[in-house]
C-alpha cells in the first residue's frame, strides 16, 4: 500500500508502454535528483548539465570521445548481460577487463618487433582467454557448490587490479617512462587501426559484432534457449534435462571473455600500452547498462552510448571543480529510479473499490 485508498495490483501482462517510458522518465528523475545535490553544493545545475551535454554530444571531438568510451561500455555491457541472462551475477567485469588487457599486453611485449598479421588476432584470443579464465575461477565453485558468485567475482576485481599495478610498477615498467606506472609503447603491429584521424578504433566493430552474435545466440540457438530457460526458471531447466553446471561455467567463461576483449581493445586501441587505472569502472557501469537495457543487446549499444556521453560530460565539468564521483552518484540514482519504475511495468495502481461487506481490506 503506498497511499491510503489505493492498492497495487499485479498486471497479467507487463505494460509495453512502460518499457519505453520508464527508462526515459528514470533518466529525467535521476538528473533532477542530481540537480538537487549540485544546487545544495552551490552550483548552477542547468549550467553544469548543459556543459556536460554539449561537451559529450555537441562537437565532432566530443562525439568521437563518446564513441571511444562507448566501445568498452558496450563490450562489458554485453559481457555481463550474457551472465545476467542466466541469473548469474557477474560483478567481476572490471577484473576480467584488466586480465584481458594484461594478456594482450603480454603478447605485445613478448614479440616487440612483431608486425605480422598474427599479432592482433593473438592478442584478441589471449585477451579473451584470460578474461574468460578469470571468470571461470568463481564459476566453478558456483556450479559445483553454489558458492555466491557476487562476492567472489567482486573480490577478484581487486586482485586483478593489484596484479596489473604490480606489473606496471614492477617488472613491466617502461624504463624510458619517467617512472610513470605504465609499460613501453606497443609496436605499430600491435595497435588496432583507427577510423580516419579520430581516436575511434577497430574495437567498435568488436562491439557491434558481439551485439549481433549475442542476439543470434540468445534468440536463435538451442544453447541460447537453455540460457533463457535456466535464467527464468532453474527448476524447469533441471527437469528438462539441461546441464546447468556446464552452462554456468560456459556462460561465465564467455561473459568474462567478452569483458577481456574490452580490456584488449582498450590497451591496443587507445593508449597502445598497459597503464595503471586503465578503466574508470567500465565493468561496474556495465551492470547498470545491462539492467537498464533489460538485457537486450541492441538496447545495450544505445544505452552504452548515452552512458559514455555521461562519462565524457563528467570529464568536461571536472575542469570547473565538479568531482568525477558525481557521475557515479548519477548512475546510482538512475538505477534506483529504473528499479522503482519496474513496479509500473508489472503492477498497476488502482483506487481501492468500495467495500460494502465492511471486512478489513488489508
Amino acid at each position: 500500500m503506498i497511499l491510503p485508498g489505493y492498492v497495487i495490483e499485479k498486471r497479467l501482462t507487463p505494460s509495453s508502454t512502460a518499457y519505453v517510458i520508464i527508462p526515459i522518465l528514470s533518466i529525467i528523475l535521476a538528473l533532477a535528483a542530481g540537480a538537487i545535490f549540485l544546487e545544495l553544493s552551490g552550483r548552477n545545475c542547468f549550467e553544469i548539465y548543459s556543459r556536460m551535454f554539449s561537451g559529450a554530444f555537441g562537437s565532432r571531438y566530443g562525439l568521437s570521445e563518446t564513441v571511444v568510451k562507448a566501445i568498452p561500455l558496450t563490450l562489458t555491457g554485453i559481457g555481463v548481460a550474457l551472465a545476467f541472462r542466466m541469473q548469474l551475477w557477474n560483478i567481476g567485469g572490471e577484473g576480467q577487463l584488466y586480465m584481458g588487457a594484461f594478456a594482450a599486453t603480454w603478447v605485445a611485449l613478448t614479440f616487440p618487433g612483431g608486425s605480422g598479421w598474427w599479432v592482433l588476432p593473438t592478442m584478441v584470443l589471449l585477451g579473451m582467454l584470460a578474461g574468460g579464465l578469470w571468470a571461470l575461477i568463481p564459476a566453478i565453485p558456483r556450479a559445483i557448490w553454489g558458492v555466491n558468485e557476487i562476492i567472489t567475482t567482486l573480490m577478484l576485481n581487486y586482485v586483478a587490479i593489484f596484479w596489473v599495478d604490480y606489473l606496471v610498477f614492477g617488472p613491466w615498467k617502461d624504463p624510458n617512462g619517467f617512472n610513470f606506472p605504465m609499460t613501453a609503447q606497443f609496436s605499430p603491429g600491435a595497435i588496432l587501426p583507427a577510423l580516419g584521424n579520430s581516436r575511434i578504433h577497430a574495437g567498435l566493430f568488436f562491439g557491434l559484432a558481439l551485439t549481433v552474435i549475442f542476439y543470434l545466440i540468445i534468440y536463435h540457438t538451442r544453447w541460447g534457449y537453455e540460457i533463457r530457460v535456466t535464467g527464468e526458471n532453474p527448476n524447469s531447466a533441471h527437469y528438462a534435462g539441461m546441464n546447468s553446471k556446464r552452462n554456468i561455467m560456459l556462460v561465465m567463461f564467455f561473459s568474462g571473455a567478452i569483458c577481456g576483449l574490452a580490456g584488449m581493445s582498450e590497451v591496443a586501441g587507445i593508449a597502445g600500452r598497459l597503464q595503471q587505472g586503465l578503466s574508470p569502472g567500465y565493468g561496474f557501469t556495465a551492470i547498470i547498462i545491462a539492467w537498464l537495457s533489460r538485457l537486450n543487446p541492441f538496447a545495450i549499444v544505445i544505452v552504452a552510448f548515452l552512458f559514455a556521453g555521461l562519462q565524457v560530460g563528467g570529464y568536461i565539468v571536472q575542469t570547473s571543480g565538479i568531482p568525477s564521483s558525481m557521475v557515479t552518484m548519477l548512475q546510482g540514482l538512475l538505477l534506483f529510479f529504473v528499479l522503482g519504475g519496474e513496479l509500473l511495468t508489472n503492477y498497476t495502481i488502482k483506487r481501492m473499490p468500495a467495500n460494502p461487506s465492511g471486512d478489513d481490506m488489508r
Binding site: I91, W145, I151, L154, G170, L335, F336, L339, G340
Partner: protein, 310 residues
C-alpha cells in the same frame, strides 16, 4: 616471532576487524529479516564521510558517529523502500546503493580529502583488565568503539536467539507468510532491521574515518563492505561467529601490513591482494561446509514478500 610482535599483530587484528564487524552485524540483522543488502560498501562510505565531516565541524567524534548512523540508516531506508514496498530486485538495488554511496561520499567529501581529523577516538585502556598479561594489551587497550562492539555482539546474539522480538525477526526471514498469519507485520519488521543494519554499517564506516585511518579519502573502505557480506555467510548469520570472523580478516590485513614494514621481499601489491583472495577461499570452504551441515541462509532471503501470493 617474539611475543611483543604477536601482541601487536593481534591487537591490530582487533582494530582492523572492528569496521568489518559492525557492518557484518548490520547485514546479519537485515538478512535475518530476509532482505539481502549488497549496499554495505556504500552505506559504510556514507557513514565514513558524514561522520568525518560532522566530527570535524562539532569537534566531537561522538556526534560524528551519530550522524554516520543516521546516514547509513537513511541509505538503507532507500533500499527498504525499493525492495520491501516496491518489491524490486534486491541484488540490483543493493548494487545501486553501493554505487550511489560511493559517488555521493566522493562528491561531498572532495574538499575534506587528506585533512587530518583533530578529534579522533582515542585509546582508553580499561582499568584492571588491560593489566592481564597478553590478553590485556590485545583486547583491552583500544578505543571506545571497540568496547562498544564487545557489548553489541552478545546483546545481538541474545536478542536474535533468546527474545520474542528476535523470534519474530527470524520468522520473517524464514517464512514470511507464516509470520504474517501469526500477526507479525512483515513489511514493518523488514524496514526496521534493514534500517538498523544500515546504521551499523554507517558505524563501521565511521570507525575507519574516526579512528582507524583517521581521515577521509575516496573509497576509504576498499572493499571491506563486501568482505562483511561474505563474512555473514561464514558466520552462519550468528553475531558471535561474526566476531571471530572479522578478527580473522582483520588479522590478515594486519599481517600484510606488518610484512610490508619488515622488509619482506614480497611486493606490496601481492600483500594487498591477501584479504580479497582469502575472502574467496574462505567463502568456497564455508559454503561447502554449510552445505554438508545443511546450514542455509534464511529461507526467504532475497525474495520479496507479496501478500497476494501467500
Amino acid at each position: 616471532m617474539n611475543q611483543e610482535i604477536l601482541v601487536a599483530i593481534l591487537a591490530t587484528a582487533v582494530t582492523a576487524g572492528t569496521p568489518i564487524l559492525y557492518a557484518a552485524l548490520g547485514e546479519i540483522l537485515a538478512e535475518r529479516a530476509g532482505v539481502l543488502n549488497l549496499g554495505v560498501e556504500g552505506m559504510m562510505l556514507a557513514g565514513a564521510v558524514s561522520g568525518f565531516i560532522f566530527a570535524t565541524k562539532t569537534s566531537s567524534p561522538w556526534t560524528g558517529l551519530l550522524i554516520a548512523m543516521l546516514a547509513g540508516g537513511l541509505l538503507a531506508a532507500i533500499h527498504a523502500f525499493l525492495t520491501v514496498t516496491l518489491k524490486a530486485n534486491q541484488v540490483v538495488s543493493g548494487l545501486a546503493l553501493t554505487m550511489f554511496g560511493t559517488g555521493l561520499s566522493g562528491y561531498i567529501g572532495k574538499s575534506y580529502v587528506g585533512m587530518p581529523l583533530p578529534v579522533p577516538f582515542h585509546k582508553v585502556s580499561v582499568p584492571v583488565l588491560s593489566d592481564i598479561p597478553f590478553i590485556g594489551p590485545v583486547l583491552f587497550n583500544h578505543d571506545p568503539m571497540v568496547y562498544l562492539s564487545y557489548i553489541l555482539v552478545p546483546v545481538l546474539w541474545f536478542f536474535i536467539f533468546r527474545t520474542r522480538s528476535g523470534l519474530h525477526l527470524r520468522a520473517v526471514g524464514e517464512n514470511p507468510a507464516a509470520a504474517d498469519s501469526m500477526g507479525i507485520n512483515v513489511f514493518l519488521t523488514r524496514y526496521i532491521y534493514v534500517i538498523i543494519g544500515g546504521m551499523l554499517a554507517g558505524m563501521g564506516g565511521a570507525y575507519l574515518s574516526l579512528h582507524y585511518v583517521p581521515s577521509w579519502m575516496e573509497n576509504i573502505t576498499a572493499g571491506r563492505g563486501w568482505i562483511a557480506v561474505a563474512l555473514v555467510i561464514f558466520a552462519t548469520w550468528n553475531p558471535v561467529n561474526a566476531l571471530w570472523g572479522s578478527y580473522f580478516f582483520g588479522g590478515i590485513d594486519a599481517l600484510g601490513f606488518r610484512l610490508q614494514t619488515m622488509n619482506v621481499t614480497i611486493s606490496p601489491h601481492f600483500l594487498k591482494m591477501l584479504p580479497y583472495l582469502f575472502t574467496v577461499v574462505v567463502l568456497v570452504l564455508v559454503t561447502k561446509r554449510n552445505m554438508l551441515n545443511r546450514i542455509g541462509s534464511p529461507r526467504a532471503l532475497g525474495l520479496p514478500y507479496d501478500r497476494e501470493e501467500r
